[in-house]
Symmetry: C3
Amino acid sequence: MRFEKPVPLSEIRSLINARIVGNDDGSATGINEIHKVEEGDLVFVDHPKYYQKCIQSAATYIIINKETDFPSNKALLIVDEPFEAYQTIVRHYRPFEPLQKAVSDSASIGEGSIVMPGAVIGHHVQIGKNTVIHPAVVIMDHCIIGNDVIIQSGTVIGSDAFYYNKKTNRDVHYKKMLSCGRVVIEDAVEIGANCTIDRGVSGDTVIGAGTKIDNLVHIGHDTVVGKNCLFAAQVGIAGATVIEDDVILWGQVGVSKTLTIGKGAEVYAQSGVPAGLEGGKKYFGSPAEDAMLKKKELVWIKRIPALWEKAFGK
Amino acid sequence: MRFEKPVPLSEIRSLINARIVGNDDGSATGINEIHKVEEGDLVFVDHPKYYQKCIQSAATYIIINKETDFPSNKALLIVDEPFEAYQTIVRHYRPFEPLQKAVSDSASIGEGSIVMPGAVIGHHVQIGKNTVIHPAVVIMDHCIIGNDVIIQSGTVIGSDAFYYNKKTNRDVHYKKMLSCGRVVIEDAVEIGANCTIDRGVSGDTVIGAGTKIDNLVHIGHDTVVGKNCLFAAQVGIAGATVIEDDVILWGQVGVSKTLTIGKGAEVYAQSGVPAGLEGGKKYFGSPAEDAMLKKKELVWIKRIPALWEKAFGK
Amino acid sequence: MRFEKPVPLSEIRSLINARIVGNDDGSATGINEIHKVEEGDLVFVDHPKYYQKCIQSAATYIIINKETDFPSNKALLIVDEPFEAYQTIVRHYRPFEPLQKAVSDSASIGEGSIVMPGAVIGHHVQIGKNTVIHPAVVIMDHCIIGNDVIIQSGTVIGSDAFYYNKKTNRDVHYKKMLSCGRVVIEDAVEIGANCTIDRGVSGDTVIGAGTKIDNLVHIGHDTVVGKNCLFAAQVGIAGATVIEDDVILWGQVGVSKTLTIGKGAEVYAQSGVPAGLEGGKKYFGSPAEDAMLKKKELVWIKRIPALWEKAFGK
């Protein structure tokens, strides 16, 4: 999440009750996850295993639960509970404002675009030109929709990430990490009916220009889909995954989180993708493998009875 | 289904045109399926195979198509068509009342709870405190939603059970059994976008406290989900199944009906669960098996060509 | 698509700027795809491979990009870009009219039918008698719903086909073929919550009388489903497929495009159907095979270690 304008570090310090070590007179431009941060951003870390990765990331301000060595151009904000500090910052700078009406006054809708009855358009949503939003579509706060986009009925853009911190405290077994990211739909994307595209936790979920998506497709938080991809019905893609340009996923394919599917890969129907796939090839199976090898394997399986007869007789 | 107040047996008798055998001056507290009935309830049975099971169940009043031995503290209501008698009772005591407006006047919404634009809240729905109902969510009649619940956009709670009686009469091939049960969502449950949770046929579909559900998940009628479960996107669970506490189902897992998944079991993505699973273990495959065994099996399959060469030469 | 009334060929000629070869004073009754055309219809073809198939089809008027031999009772409409001519005809005779209100004035709703709050009913929709349209259902323009139908909440009927022409021109990688077909739901069909049924590209998607469909089911464009079928939750059926009467598809089954599943076939949960299936049998697996053979195969796989030991020792 970018802040609307840079926030003085002193303001953050007061908000989360932190002790600052290092340069304390800068301003933070936003808060983000480790793999998305940019210079000027805040990031948080609460496990020593990740201390160095966070401190060495592009982030300038590190919310952390222990004083540690850090580069001189950065600052640490020391608190007991970095995760709670993150939640406090999100709640403060991106407060939950319940919608009062179907189309928020702060939404902007470009020339030639159409919003059909029953659609709900959240706060600060931006819709480009010549875009069609069909009935009962929901676009939640802060999402960005390009030009020449079509979103068919019942689709939800910008639902919260399915992202929980597991707590040993049994009173709150799973604690939701607040989502402050967005969904960004680029130009000429077409999305079918009753799909769901989650917003990023603190970054953006992106659907690249020209990509076409069929019905009942799920795309998880922070996933970045390239240009001119084709996803058939009931495909599901978990969070923080990268789908490069020109990828084709056929019906009911499932893709796991934090992996990359390379440019131009094609995955046949009902396959499951548990790990990254090289581009330019065809895949099949759950777990997905080279489609040709997988098909040969299906033939090999049918030969087991003949092997048995040879080994043990009829 | 519980009746609003106990109904004199004489009233039921007139309604379904039954002959009563046994004590005929009691009152019925509700009507339920065989595995959900309690003392004071009505139950119906039309196949001799299930006569004794119904008569020996907790139910006090048995709607049946033949006079049979029964305990002296119970009564039989004898009719030609017990299934039709059930339908008549449901139609009478839980009549279908089409909604006239988006939020029924008979719904109650607790302090601090928010219902967003486009949501539809049915008759007699009860929503607890500090609960957020996102846009275009539909909660049908009589469902119960706890405190601190989040239901994201487009989700449907309390759709009718997918439950049909097959008729030999070809004019009505499948006859819908009327749903009079409820969905009960306990405290701190979070449900994603465009999910569907069916009401019980005559009992309750229950989602236990603290359970978190991702997008496009389906949960069938009368299924009881424990506390602090985690269901990833596009999971589907059929009817009358029991998912114990702390169960994790990853994306696109399918679970069949009337089985039990034990406490703390974890089922990997795209697996299919056709029969009960012991708790505390990890499973994979369709049909699902012990995950470690299943992974070894995938390795064994790759060795068939070597076996072939050994048996038959190249 | 049928035109509202026959359109003189001269009008079509002017619209798409065609040169007519053959009888030019007839009228066209509609425009359709090759496998759906009837006498009097227009059809288009732009690849020499399909020239003869189109010219020999039932269509009377062939929009084509090259003069070719044809029967004397037909006519060719010669244009440079037949696909674009098709799009122009659809745009002209079935223009996109954005809905201005939740229920179009041109929709007709039969006696005893109920449309619940939040439902959206498009232009020229026809709904029969005693049909229940639950909250937040969307029925798009020109769809036909029979008598005694139940459509549960959030379901979308008549979303556009997922049907694209791939263009070598990288500026528009996939070009959407405009949908001008309909969805026709016959009597006593019941459809669950959050399903999606796409309209035909130029023909009809049909759901046969008495068929029952569970939640989150997807049915593609131009697919024709027979009578008294049963589809469990999360089934997906691609486009232009034929499902004959009495077919049962269990949960999460996927069916590919342009194939036929024969009468009374039953496909077990999570199976994938890549090619036609004979009626009256049971199937399992992805790809689906005879269920009994498939189950035996699962047993054979478990015997590989014993084969290995015999061949190579422990």
